[in-house]
């Protein structure tokens, strides 16, 4: 019979074709039009495992290793892969309590069930050895090696800086760093972070849905190798550094020693300081908090770079040099001294004196009169004009601005601009006598020990310096920032320096009325200048600058001993011992060494503090 509905087969066919066409179109869209799915699939399956390079090592100028790396082991856990274990045995293996186990497990689970997280940081070698053997018993746990810093001697903390985990803020700013990475903080570690850290590598693995590694991706062809960090050859002499820190024990202050011919910092001591080993590993955060909260000793405060003092009499050689260069005095110009000049007092010494004698005797009158001549020089229209000129000499010596060293936290110090006095006294209302205390390094002026050491180096060089720097070379090819080989020449004749140096030599070497005989070393021509930095809060700070030998100087040094009184008392012996140690590697004056080592100025300081306790 005839089927009246035969044409409905076309409708059925159309339905089937339409349905399949819908599938094909959808497939076309997701497989060919959109390309986001391939990315999602890759994100699913690829795990990027960072390969950490070893951080560069740090050596001293003689090739002695100061900072190296030590292996540390973190126990990692992937909660989803763990199974029921004997907790008691596990805890005993790692020397932890069950409470810690539970707490760490919870933290890990809260972070992620499938991603690894640190279960226990930096376990001891003994624990690591024991755990390694039994690890197969504890699925889901594994050991992640990390490198920590290791210090060959407990010194030079302020120079080296420290390494710590990056914080969230930095991770956002700098995409190189990921959570858990380490970064250098302060000192060489921070200044040379990009050289020391090297280049991280990455290994790409494929993982299954349970985050289990199934093999390397594309046979490792997409992996990158970690590049080890470059080694740093520091300019410091680690033996000298150690000796300096020993001398400064139980005292506050700083020592900066520079090699004048290169600007290389030989030693940089800031006391009180701390053992750099305290800021490594598990104990780091606790120790750091303790050091930071020690407001009495402030061991993290780097006085050599960040403390600004009035330079006191150590400033006199510079003013003498400016007077000579400006032509207002000659080496032979003599000024009388009647124990002072106007309202500036002076100690008893023979009179009148010429320039070298005035330097050796540290005569206040001489430098006040010289300074007055400098500022009242007819060459310039006004005192202000002359002052601006005088200040430009100081700037040439590196005062009043940052030197541009490779230290990250260097203070600029302060040389008041003319406008500073205008503000106090009114334009053209101040005279030479208004600022006369600058002649002897007192008053509004502020310099750092580093700047003073640099000034000393410039004098030792007879008129030039290289920017002080703490790193001799980066890597074993000896790269160095070209700014450290740039000669800064001071616009003062070499001959003038000789006059001042003659005085400085006399100060130590026993010219009549010499102020720093204590610093003399038999057989070495030491040139020095004492100083006393006024301290409105208590006993004055003892300051001494020196370089030696007089001809072809090898070391220029500035020493600050806080609350110690006259420069000659403590700073000069310290400088002398440092110079001898550096030049001869032995000490002839054992008695003086003993005196300094035994000196404990903390007693003074305590009195000082009680006296000047702020009113509450």
């Amino acid at each position: 019979m005839k089927d009246p509905f035969i044409n409905r087969k076309y409708i059925v066919m159309a339905l089937v074709i339409t349905g399949f066409l819908a599938l094909i179109i959808r497939l076309f869209v997701i497989q060919i039009v959109k390309d986001t799915y391939r990315l999602s699939a890759d994100n699913n399956v690829l795990r990027y495992v960072t390969q950490y390079p070893a951080r560069g090592l740090i050596y001293d100028r003689n090739g002695k290793l100061i900072v190296s790396n030590q292996a540390a082991y973190d126990i990692m856990v992937i909660p989803s892969q763990t199974s029921v274990i004997d907790t008691a045995e596990f805890c005993a293996l790692l020397d932890i309590t069950k409470d810690i186990f539970r707490k760490q497990m919870r933290t890990a689970i809260n972070y992620s069930r499938r991603a690894p997280s640190v279960f226990l940081k930096q376990i001891s070698d003994a624990n690591y050895a024991r755990f390694q053997e039994k690890m197969f018993l504890y699925p889901g746990f594994y050991v992640q090696p990390r490198t920590l810093r290791k210090y060959s001697r407990p010194v030079a903390a302020h120079i080296l800086g420290y390494v710590s985990e990056v914080d969230e803020g930095l991770i956002k700013k700098n995409p190189y760093y990921k959570s858990g990475d380490y970064i250098g903080k302060s000192g060489i570690e921070e200044a040379y972070e990009s050289e020391l850290r090297g280049q991280k590598g990455v290994k790409i693995f494929m993982v299954d849905v349970f985050s289990r590694i199934k093999g390397s991706y594309a046979d490792g062809s997409m992996d990158t190798v970690a590049v080890q960090g470059e080694d740093i050859i520091s300019s410091i002499n680690i033996d000298l550094q150690e000796y300096g820190e020993l001398l400064m024990k139980n005292k506050r202050g700083s020592i900066v020693a520079i090699e004048p011919s290169s600007g290389e910092v030989l030693s940089l001591v800031s006391a009180p300081d701390y053992d750099p080993g305290l800021l490594v590993g598990r104990i780091r955060s606790e120790n750091f908090a303790r050091l930071q909260s020690d407001t009495a000793l402030q061991p993290l405060f780097n006085r050599a770079l960040m403390a600004s003092y009035p330079p006191g009499s150590t400033f006199k050689p510079v003013n003498g040099l400016i007077g000579l260069q400006e032509g207002v005095i000659t080496e032979d110009t003599k000024f009388g001294c009647d124990q002072g000049y106007l309202f500036v007092g002076c100690h008893l010494h023979s009179s009148p004196l010429n320039l070298p004698q005035a330097v050796a005797n540290s005569c206040n009158s001489y430098f006040c009169q010289t300074y007055r001549r400098v500022l009242e020089n007819k060459k310039y229209g006004s005192v202000e004009e002359a002052y601006i000129h005088w200040k430009s000499y100081l700037n040439q010596f590196g005062f009043g601005s940052r030197l541009g060293t490779d230290f990250v936290n260097e203070l600029a110090g302060f040389i008041p601009p003319a406008s500073y006095y205008d503000r106090f006294h009114g334009k053209n209302r101040w005279k030479a006598l208004t600022v006369i205390s600058l002649a002897i390094g007192q008053g509004e002026i502020g310099t750092t020990p580093l700047q003073m050491a640099n000034m000393t180096a410039a004098i030792a060089n007879r008129g030039f310096y290289y920017t002080p720097h703490i790193v001799k070379a980066v890597g074993h090819e000896g790269k160095i920032d070209p700014k450290f080989t740039l000669k800064h020449t001071i616009n003062i004749d070499t001959a003038h320096f000789e006059s001042v140096i003659l005085g400085m030599e006399g100060a130590v070497g026993g010219m009549a009325g010499a102020t720093a005989r204590v610093a003399a070393i038999k057989g070495i021509a030491v040139c020095g200048k004492t100083g006393t930095a006024q301290n409105p809060h208590g006993k004055d700070h003892s300051v001494f600058i020196a370089f030696a030998p007089k001809d072809d100087p090898k070391i220029a040094i500035a020493v600050y001993v806080e609350n110690a009184g006259f420069g000659a008392t403590y700073a000069a012996p310290v400088a002398s011992l440092m110079i001898e140690k550096y030049l001869r590697d032995s000490i002839s004056n054992k008695a003086m060494e003993q005196r300094i080592l035994e000196l404990n100025l903390e007693e003074n300081i305590k009195e000082d503090e009680t006296e000047h306790k702020p009113v509450e």
Binding site: F5, V12, F20, L23, R38, S40
Partner: protein
């Protein structure tokens, strides 16, 4: 042996080749889906691909048996087979083992059996038997109702397991009734019901109800060409709704707005019934009934969806409609499945190179989500070949069905077409996210003995009937 020679000659080799092609492609993809380095031999019986090889051999034997048996056996025993399988479907509800929240399996010591896979074959057979003897006049309700009952009975039993996938497969057999003469309006109404169903879930029901009322009034205006009737109806409904709303708002305070609207429409209908009767306004009456029906439907779907449907089914529909986004919960499978297939690109990642499949990001990769492996490793081209093969097979089967001389064979053929089509469409559709996740296998492809034998039986019985298409059944 004249008979067997005839059988070989008249057997549709195209279908057989397509069958073998799909089964072998399936086997290789199961191998890829469960592939691991420790068991690389494709015949390893401890692995799914090894077992599937056994199932394939058994399926071929099943197919051969289906061909050897006399074609009249199926005709005469159609009801017996149907009855037996319905009994199994009923028994599985009592004695079945619950797997993934559904009682679909009989578990024996050494193998398990899913009766619903065979019930599909039995139902197609019974439908063919019924429509053959009743002279298949599907324009009459007297025929439509029993025919529907044959389909709905197993649909109901599988819904009780609950196995929504199989239920939908049985419902798909209505396509056969359409082919055999059932009114297209039933079909169109069904389609509209599906559209309305999704709108109910997606749109605020009160606004949807208002939209339906406005639509109905516009239809009345078009039908009668008198805007006063439409406007009058609108005003009456608005007034009654407003009164009810105020009463509810100040007195009862617990009735939903859409129920108020439904009641208002019902009351308005009673008020204008006199007008309809006097004016013999049939069109207005039909539209009114349609509106009422739609409103009832919307409200009952809403109720059913939120109160009757099991949670996991509701979640699946919610995810498909984008109401709920939950990439690591219920939507995880679909999300990972789409990532797998999408990442395949034009040519795929290469055989055994699919990272999504190899590293088990997609669950049920060898059974319900087998298409992921195809999509990821063979890309768009591979997917196209697979879908093309199914399309070719289905069009071939329609062609074969149409050349049958007996109604029995034709109806059975369309039954096979409907079952295979819905399986392929839903299985691939869910893997690429255009159909909710309904766990049904991809015919001939997916891992599993029951489904493979069920489909083989289904297909080869038809090929047997087709081989003897020139013989009379009775």
């Amino acid at each position: 042996m004249k008979r067997s020679i005839n059988l070989w000659n008249s057997l549709d080799k195209t279908s057989v080749i397509l069958f073998l092609l799909l089964v072998i492609m399936g086997w290789f993809n199961i191998y890829a889906a469960v592939y691991n380095e420790e068991h690389t031999r494709i015949f390893d019986l401890s692995q799914r691909y090894g077992k599937q090889f056994i199932w394939i051999l058994a399926a071929i034997v099943t197919g051969i048996f289906a061909l050897i048996i006399d074609n009249r056996f199926y005709f005469f025993f159609a009801w017996f087979i149907y009855g037996f399988l319905m009994l199994l479907l009923a028994l599985v509800l009592v004695f079945g083992t619950e797997i993934n929240g559904a009682k679909s399996w009989f578990e024996f010591s050494w193998f398990s059996l899913q009766p619903s896979e065979f019930a599909k074959f039995g139902t197609a057979l019974a439908l063919a038997g019924y429509l053959n003897t009743r002279r298949h006049d599907l324009t009459r309700w007297k025929v439509i109702i029993p025919a529907s009952a044959i389909i709905l009975f197993p649909a109901l039993l599988t819904a009780l397991q609950p196995d929504m996938g199989s239920t939908i497969v049985f419902i798909a057999l209505f396509l056969v009734l359409f082919r055999e003469g059932m009114s297209p309006y039933v079909f169109v109404s069904g389609m509209l019901a599906i559209i309305l169903f999704f709108l109910t879930l997606l749109v605020n029901n009160f606004y949807l109800s208002i939209a339906l009322v406005v639509l109905a009034l516009l239809l009345i205006w078009f039908a009668t060409r008198r805007w006063k009737i439409a406007l009058g109806g609108g005003i009456i409904i608005t007034i009654i709704t407003a009164i009810f709303y105020l009463i509810n708002h100040y007195v009862i305070q617990s009735i939903d707005n859409e129920i108020i609207l439904l009641t208002a429409v019902l009351l308005s209908g009673l008020l204008v019934s006199w007008y309809i009767y006097v004016k013999k306004a049939i069109a207005v009456f039909v539209i009114f009934l349609f509106l009422l029906g739609s409103l009832v439907f919307v409200n009952s779907v809403d109720y059913g969806f939120n109160h009757v449907l099991p949670d996991h089914q509701r979640d699946r529909i919610n995810i498909l409609l984008g109401i709920k986004s939950d990439p690591h919960g219920t939507g995880y499978n679909v999300n990972q499945s789409i990532i797998s297939i999408g990442s395949g690109g034009l040519t795929g990642k290469g055989y055994l190179q699919g990272t999504q499949t190899k590293f088990k990001f997609v669950p049920k990769q060898s059974s319900d989500f087998i298409f992921c492996t195809i999509g990821e490793e063979w890309g768009f081209l591979g997917s196209f070949v697979v879908i093309g093969s199914y399309l070719f097979l289905l069009l071939r089967l329609i062609f074969l069905a149409e050349r049958q001389r007996s109604v029995f064979s034709r109806v059975y053929g369309y039954g096979v077409v409907s079952i295979l089509f819905i399986h392929v469409f839903i299985n691939i559709g869910m893997a690429i996210g255009i159909v909710p996740v309904i766990g049904i296998p991809l015919p001939f492809f997916s891992y599993g003995g029951s489904s493979l034998w069920g489909f083989t039986l289904l297909l080869f019985v038809f090929l047997r009937l087709d081989a003897s298409r020139n013989e009379y059944l009775v």
